[in-house]
């Protein structure tokens, strides 16, 4: 129990620290790198929670593909840093207060109602394995799966259309 807790706390601290790092880094590249760290810790949580396949996907898709894309765009645009701006200076304190408020609200709910959410100590064999995920995906969620593929296609075409230079401009 304690090992689990220690592990959880260790990873949670890293995760939150990485998130805060992402939040406060001036340089967008650092933000992206912090976010990758965060994604990796979250992937470790998935692993702990019995989602092996999801954990791998998380690393591959998020930490790999998506974040690489982010870095690529940052580099491409040269937008690592923005100039100083005094617009909406009042928004930052208000946002922090609200953020703390939101955390407090959720925590108050979660911590006061722990008993309601029970948790089995052991899992059935093969829970979260690629095979079981695949079974659920292709039996129970076949239609959403296919729709997702269409969605990806649309996103791909959309991205191409949006970034395509207008021939007249060129």
């Amino acid at each position: 129990m304690t090992t689990d807790l220690i592990l959880f706390l260790f990873l949670a601290i890293i995760s939150v620290a990485a998130a805060l790092g992402m939040l406060f880094s001036r340089n967008a590249v650092y933000s992206a790198l912090y976010l990758i760290v965060n994604f990796v810790t979250v992937a470790l949580f998935y692993l702990i929670l019995g989602g092996a396949f999801i954990a791998v996907s998380q690393v591959a898709v998020y930490a790999g593909a998506i974040m690489v894309l982010f870095l690529f765009v940052i580099m491409l645009l040269g937008a690592e840093e923005l100039g100083q701006s005094q617009t909406l200076s009042w928004q930052r304190p208000l946002a922090i207060v609200l953020g703390v408020g939101l955390v407090a609200e959720i925590l108050s709910v979660v911590l006061t109602q722990t008993g309601v959410i029970a948790s089995a100590s052991s899992l059935p064999e093969g829970f979260g394995s690629p095979a079981s995920i695949g079974n659920t995906l292709f039996l129970q969620y076949l239609l959403p799966f296919e729709v997702t593929s269409v969605l990806l296609l649309v996103a791909m075409i959309g991205a191409i259309v949006l970034t395509q230079r207008n021939k007249k401009d060129a």
Binding site: T87, L88, Q91, A95, G101, L102, E105, S108
Partner: protein, 709 residues
């Protein structure tokens, strides 16, 4: 089957009665729709055939009546049904109405035929051949209306016909509405038509009032129902019958040109001569006589009304006869003669001598139509002579055709321009002579018998009227003699009369038929035989009305004949022995001076009406129009009161209420909206992070609310 067989075996042709109206209507529709492509002969033939067919129907109805003398009523359609008023469009076939139908159909057809020839020349002298078709359309319309008048089974249907013939009269008097009597551009003919129409309105007003009282008293205007209850009403309330009959007399005076409403008839001579003959001598103007004869069951109940009618007739007969003596226009003489003769008829039916009145109506239709048509023939003859003379001059002087339009003003109807036409128009002369002798009441012509019957009846029934009529008869013979001497004897006083030409056969043949009827017409009610009396009695028997049987009175007959001959002799002394020369003053004027001037000027009746009625009326109308309507009503009331008041109200509504209150609401709403949106638009910063913050606030607040709930 022979007609005699039909008459004895007694088949009924009553069902044909509606065709009396249908035939002329079909005729006029054919001429309206297809007439444009027809020639003049075809148009005239269609119209004359339509008229002739009505005569055939009338004859068939008469034959049917011999077997069923009580007559009948042919229902065509239900007409009006409002409350207590139930009227049918029904044709009354009895001996009285059929007699009228035969006169209208027979004389009408002859005049139609005559008009084919007459109008052919008339439209050419007036330079407008296009109106030929219109004339026959109106003529057929007249026949249809007249048939409705005589065949109606109730007073309202009679009134429809009454107004219909009035309309045709108006249309035909104003036939040359853009010309005067001599063919010059003018409103004179149109004015004459208007005068006839308006004068008749006065009479029609009387007729309508009579009809309203009748409906009020009898709850019906159907002949049988009214006559049936007349006795009953007369016992309780004789004043009602008196009112009805006297108001009806006003209608009679209008339509039959009696005092005081006779003034329109002389002016009505503005219409073409066949119109004068058919409408203003033979048929329409006798409608009043027919109305009184038809209403005999009412009139016989109130002696006061009878006396009034007889007196009106008698006075009119004498009054018009004196005017006729002083006239120079050939048609005007005949017009006053017609008024005078209508006076005879009205006097007769007023006295209760209904058959005598109807008898004179028939014979008068014959000889007065004959006289008018002959006069038309004379006028056309003079016109021909005038054109001939004019063209002759042209040939002589080599002036060409331009001169044609500069002809001197020449009145072909003025007797002072005529003279000696016995030689140039021999056929017309003899026909005219026959008509004159018939009208003058010389035996054995038709006029003698009918006029004598009236005089004989008057002698016994109403002596004062007898005196009036006897003097009128004397004047009748005198002015007709004067006319004959002036027109046909002596020497031509104008070269037009000298060159006058006889009319073609299509005009003279109908005249010959009419002349034959004028000679033989007396046989209809020959004293002692009394065919017409027995015939018409059938109608009155149904109402238990027993006619007074006039006896032939030799004294009266001899007196009137002697008077007539004396009058003709006197006229010979004055006009025949030494014919008046061109431009000479009328010999009577020298003898009687002022009296003749009175006759010449129609006793100034028109002037009197102008002074007493028309001028005050016009002044009143002008006062109402200028002062009351325009100055007071329009200028003052509308402009000052209504317009200004409206402006005041409008200003009150506009400034304090509309601008101050209603606009304030609208503007306030607009300004409020603008203000709120002005402040709200600041929320729309355009910064996406602001919007996200709003969402985030929402999330936190709602979540907090859910937790704390």
């Amino acid at each position: 089957m022979l007609l005699s067989e039909i008459a004895t075996s007694g088949p009924s042709f009553f069902y044909l009665a509606p065709w009396l109206v249908f035939f002329p209507v079909i005729g006029l529709l054919i001429n309206i729709i297809f007439g444009g492509r027809f020639g003049e002969k075809l148009i005239g033939s269609v119209a004359a055939t339509a008229s002739g067919l009505t005569f055939v129907v009338a004859v068939l109805l008469a034959i049917s009546l011999r077997a069923h003398p009580e007559g009948t009523s042919i229902l065509l359609a239900e007409w009006i049904s409002i409350g207590e008023l139930h009227l049918d469009w029904a044709f009354r076939v009895d001996t009285l109405s059929v007699t009228m139908m035969m006169v209208v159909g027979g004389v009408g057809t002859l005049i139609h035929i005559y008009a084919i020839g007459y109008m052919h020349e008339d439209v050419r002298f007036k330079n407008d051949p296009g109106r030929y078709r219109r004339f026959f359309v109106f003529f057929n319309l007249f026949i249809a209306a007249m048939m409705i008048l005589v065949s109606g089974d109730n007073y309202l249907m009679l009134f429809v016909g009454w107004e219909g013939v009035g309309l045709c009269s108006y249309l035909l008097i104003g036939f040359w509405y853009d010309k005067d009597l001599l063919g010059r551009p003018s409103h004179e003919n149109a004015t004459a038509g208007k005068k006839a129409f308006i004068t008749n309105r006065v009479g029609d007003f009387g007729f309508l009032i009579a009809g309203f009282i009748m409906f009020w008293a009898f709850k019906s205007v159907q002949f049988d129902q009214v006559f049936e209850h007349a006795h009953h009403v007369a016992e309780h309330n004789p004043g009602i019958i008196l009112a009805i009959t006297l108001f009806m007399l006003l209608g009679v005076a209008g339509k039959s040109a009696q005092i005081p409403l006779f003034v329109w008839l002389p002016d009505a001579m503005a219409g073409p001569t066949p119109v004068s003959a058919l409408i203003h001598a033979a048929t329409m103007v006798t409608a009043g006589v027919y109305l009184v004869a038809r209403s005999a069951p009412l009139y016989s109940l109130v002696p006061q009304a009878q006396n009034t009618v007889a007196l009106v007739g008698g006075i009119t007969a004498l009054f018009a006869a004196t005017i006729a003596v002083g006239q120079y226009d050939i048609k005007k003489v005949l017009a006053y003669s017609t008024i005078s003769q209508l006076g005879f008829m009205v006097a007769a039916v007023g006295m209760g001598a209904f058959v005598a009145g109807m008898f004179h109506l028939i014979t008068h239709a014959f000889f007065k139509a004959l006289l008018f048509l002959s006069a038309g023939s004379v006028i056309l003859g003079v016109e021909r002579g005038h054109h001939h003379a004019a063209h002759g001059h042209h040939d002589h002087d080599n002036h060409g055709h331009d001169e044609h339009h500069e002809e001197e003003v020449f009145d072909p109807g003025d007797m002072r321009n005529m003279g000696g036409m016995r030689k140039t128009m021999p056929v017309t002369f003899w026909l005219y002579m026959i008509g004159t002798i018939a009208l003058a009441g010389i035996p054995p012509f038709a006029g003698f018998f009918s006029k004598d019957e009236i005089l004989a009846e008057a002698n016994t029934l109403n002596f004062p009227v007898y005196i009036l009529l006897a003097i009128a008869a004397f004047f009748t013979a005198f002015y007709m003699g004067r006319q004959i001497w002036m027109v046909f004897f002596g020497k031509a006083r104008h070269e037009a009369a000298e060159h006058a030409e006889e009319s073609p056969l299509i005009m003279t043949v109908p005249l010959m038929i009419l002349a034959a009827l004028s000679i033989l017409g007396g046989a209809l009610n020959f004293p002692g035989v009394s065919t017409l009396t027995h015939w018409i009695e059938h109608t009155y028997e149904t109402f238990h009305l027993h006619l007074h049987h006039g006896e032939f009175n030799p004294t009266v007959a001899i007196t009137s004949t002697v008077l007539g001959l004396l009058a003709i002799f006197l006229s010979w002394l004055l006009y025949g022995r030494k014919p008046i020369a061109e431009g000479q003053v009328d010999p009577l004027k020298k003898m009687f001076g002022p009296i003749f001037v009175g006759m010449e000027n129609k006793w100034w009746v028109d002037e009197l009406y102008w002074a007493v009625i028309l001028n005050p009326y016009i002044a009143l109308a002008r006062f109402l129009a200028d002062t009351i309507d325009w100055k007071f009503w329009h200028d003052w009331f509308h402009n000052s009161v209504i317009a200004r008041g409206f402006k005041v109200i409008a200003r009150t509504l506009a400034e304090p209420i509309d601008l101050g209150f209603i606009d304030a609401i609208a503007n306030g709403l607009a300004e409020g909206t603008q203000m709120i949106s002005g402040s709200l638009r600041r929320l729309q910063t355009g910064f996406v992070r602001n919007y996200a913050l709003s969402v985030f606030i929402g999330v936190v607040v709602i979540l907090g609310y859910l937790i704390l709930k």
